[in-house]
């Protein structure tokens, strides 16, 4: 238990430092952008500008601005949008994030479940027809960027065959194409990884032992082999979360889904700096937290860490 606690604290410390780095980075970038955020085309006189700057504390020295910035982020206040009137970054987040989150969760669930299943099937039919077909598709899935896949899906399934609606986010039918476009890449990665680790695990002695005991193939695969084969999949979950999250920027844009990713890309195109910075900090914090959870889960799942604990206690 002590070992686990130490491991958790260490990961926690790294997580906090990483968060601080990204917050500081956004701050440094924000002050290095030339000109005042209020230097817009609208002719405003200097008093108005000075008042605006005073209102947002832009007339303070940098270190005070920095402290205020950290304070506002710590209280989850990301400030106003400068391009969309009467909108704060929080408004955009609370409107867009639930939709993006829904899209992301469905994608992850689909990618993980189907990826693992395909990986197992390919491993069990090693060098067989099914193995070649699934792995061929998997390599294609990794190679085709999601925005190209999305366009092809729209063109074929929505425009030509008219099976699914092309855009927006209202019913389950609307979700099929964006989820498919987003999930294919991660699914292919998981399938390939599961296959290769399954192949390695299946040759080990304890599997032979389980076979010799007369266990059903079903039980051998799901109870004995899969547990060990899944460890590498857990380790890449953090990277996959990040990939799916950045994938939503593109997919939401293509399918006109009113999620956070779409606002984010819009804010980039309009150079709406507070929204860009706020969203980046929010997304980063979310991902860093996910990475932390993955690390902890890995620590709990990894049998070697448990073994050390037991050995340490008894011996």
């Amino acid at each position: 238990m002590k070992r686990m606690l130490k491991y958790t604290l260490k990961r926690l410390f790294i997580m906090v430092v990483t968060l601080w780095v990204i917050i500081t980075l956004t701050f440094l970038l924000m002050i290095s952008i030339p000109g005042s955020p209020f230097n817009t085309d609208q002719a405003s006189n200097e008093t108005v500008q000075a008042n605006l700057e005073a209102h947002y504390n832009l007339d303070q020295p940098y270190y005070i601005q920095y402290l205020l910035y950290i304070k506002s982020i710590a209280t989850f206040d990301f400030g106003p949008s400068i391009k969309q009137p009467n909108q704060t970054v929080n408004d955009l987040l609370s409107r867009g994030f639930p939709i993006s989150f829904e899209l992301g969760i469905i994608t992850i669930a689909l990618a993980v479940v189907s990826g693992i299943l395909v990986g197992i099937i390919a491993a069990l039919r090693h060098n067989g027809f099914l193995d070649y077909v699934t792995m061929g598709i998997a390599v294609l899935g990794i190679s085709i960027p999601n925005f190209i896949l999305a366009t092809i899906l729209i063109q074929q399934l929505a425009v030509n065959l008219e099976i699914f609606p092309t855009a927006t986010w209202r019913s389950p039918a609307h979700m099929v194409l964006p989820v498919l476009a987003l999930a294919t890449g991660p699914m292919a990665i998981i399938a390939r990884l599961t296959r290769s680790t399954m192949l390695e695990v299946l040759t080990q002695d304890y599997i032979k032992m389980a076979k010799a005991k007369g266990l059903s193939p079903w039980k051998i695969v799901f109870k004995h082999a899969l547990r060990n084969a899944l460890m590498p999949v857990v380790t890449i979950m953090g990277t996959l979360f990040a990939g799916i999250l950045t994938g939503t920027f593109v997919i939401e844009q293509i399918f006109a889904i009113p999620g956070m990713g779409r606002y984010f890309v819009e804010s980039i195109n309009q150079r709406d700096y507070p929204v860009i910075m706020g969203t980046t900090v929010f997304y980063s914090a979310f991902l860093i937290m996910m990475l932390f959870i993955v690390d902890i889960v890995y620590g709990i799942l990894d049998p070697r860490i448990k073994m050390h604990q037991k050995g340490g206690k008894s011996g």
Binding site: T18, I148, V159, A242, L245, T280
Partner: protein
């Protein structure tokens, strides 16, 4: 004498007469013979790579692509950014092999220009990653102890930063151009390479030949260069075949969200992004060619990387 004694000690079945056994001199010539050609690590790896058909397909595609990126634009009479509105959306023909796009630009010419940009971004980003990664990982792994601890903590923090978000952030501030895109891609991109190099160095530095070299009083920098690095080349090359396509993909992704390479350059990402709308009106070729080349390049690097991984793995050597 000894031989006869040995023969006696072996119980020969009665029906085999003893005369059938003869003592043969040791054939010294045959003893020295080598049954297989002696191959260095790299020769053996190459031999195994050639046997892998998919990997060779990838390699050949990439070589052809590189050649076309160099000479392709010269084969075409059209300028890369030459607009010609009367020739808008011409389907592929003898005049325009890959057709023309919404501004009447020749897609064939633009595809090879795009190959230049995409390959350039990919290779340079990978090269910078490798250089920083080798130096950082080499020092961290070789020095060990406190130095390693501090360097690894820095890496752990950088590794936690979301890669594409940092890239987006930097490009928003710096403004997108060829240089800033490569800078943004490499600023945290080297971390993965450094981790791999460190892991390898940690393993190899305890081998006897390194100890031998040390006991001769060889300088640290020379040990890293001559003893450690050549032995870590395998995993480094494999990692490079993964870095290049991810840089190409990142560049395409950035074009898509409006932070890509700006005119007069045309990358595949920019071309694909420009023609996403055009495909719905039936002008498939404007999207097909850039999309095909992005996908097939990624595919080629992926299968080549898989093949190299198998070929360079000393455990699989036969």
């Amino acid at each position: 004498m000894k031989a006869e004694k040995k023969l006696e000690s072996v119980q020969t079945p009665a029906h085999i007469p003893d005369e059938w056994f003869t003592w043969k001199e040791r054939d010294t010539e045959k003893l020295e013979q080598v049954s297989r050609p002696s191959l260095s690590y790299w020769q053996d790896a190459w031999r195994r790579l050639v046997k892998n058909k998919m990997a060779m397909l990838g390699l050949i595609f990439l070589v052809l692509l590189t050649i076309m990126a160099i000479i392709g634009p010269m084969l075409s009479p059209y300028e890369v950014n030459r607009q010609s509105l009367p020739n808008q959306f011409q389907p592929p023909s003898m005049e325009h092999w890959f057709g023309t796009d919404s501004a009447g630009r020749d897609v064939f010419t633009r595809t090879w220009y795009g190959a230049r940009i995409s390959l350039f971004v990919g290779f340079i980003a990978a090269l910078i990653d490798v250089t920083i990664g080798i130096i950082w990982g080499g020092i961290s792994g070789y020095k060990g102890g406190r130095t390693d601890n501090v360097m690894m903590r820095i890496i752990e923090v950088l590794y936690g930063l979301p890669y594409l978000l940092v890239v987006i952030l930097l490009l928003v501030v710096l403004g997108p151009s060829l240089g800033t895109i490569i800078l943004a891609l490499t600023i945290t991109g080297w971390v993965g390479m450094a981790r791999i190099v460190r892991g390898q160095v940690l393993q190899i530095k305890n081998y006897e030949f390194v100890l031998a070299s040390k006991s001769f009083g060889t300088k640290t920098s020379r040990i890293i260069r001559k003893n450690l690095l050549p032995n870590t080349m395998g995993p480094i090359i494999v990692q490079m075949t993964l870095t290049i396509p991810s840089a190409i993909f990142a560049e395409a992704f950035l074009s898509f969200i409006g932070l890509g390479i700006q005119a007069p350059f045309a990358s595949w990402g920019v071309m694909a992004n420009d023609s996403l709308g055009a495909i719905l009106s039936g002008n498939w070729w404007t999207l097909f060619f850039p999309a095909f080349f992005i996908s097939f390049t990624m595919f080629a690097f992926n299968v080549l990387g898989d093949g190299l991984q198998d070929a360079l793995d000393p455990k699989l050597r036969k």
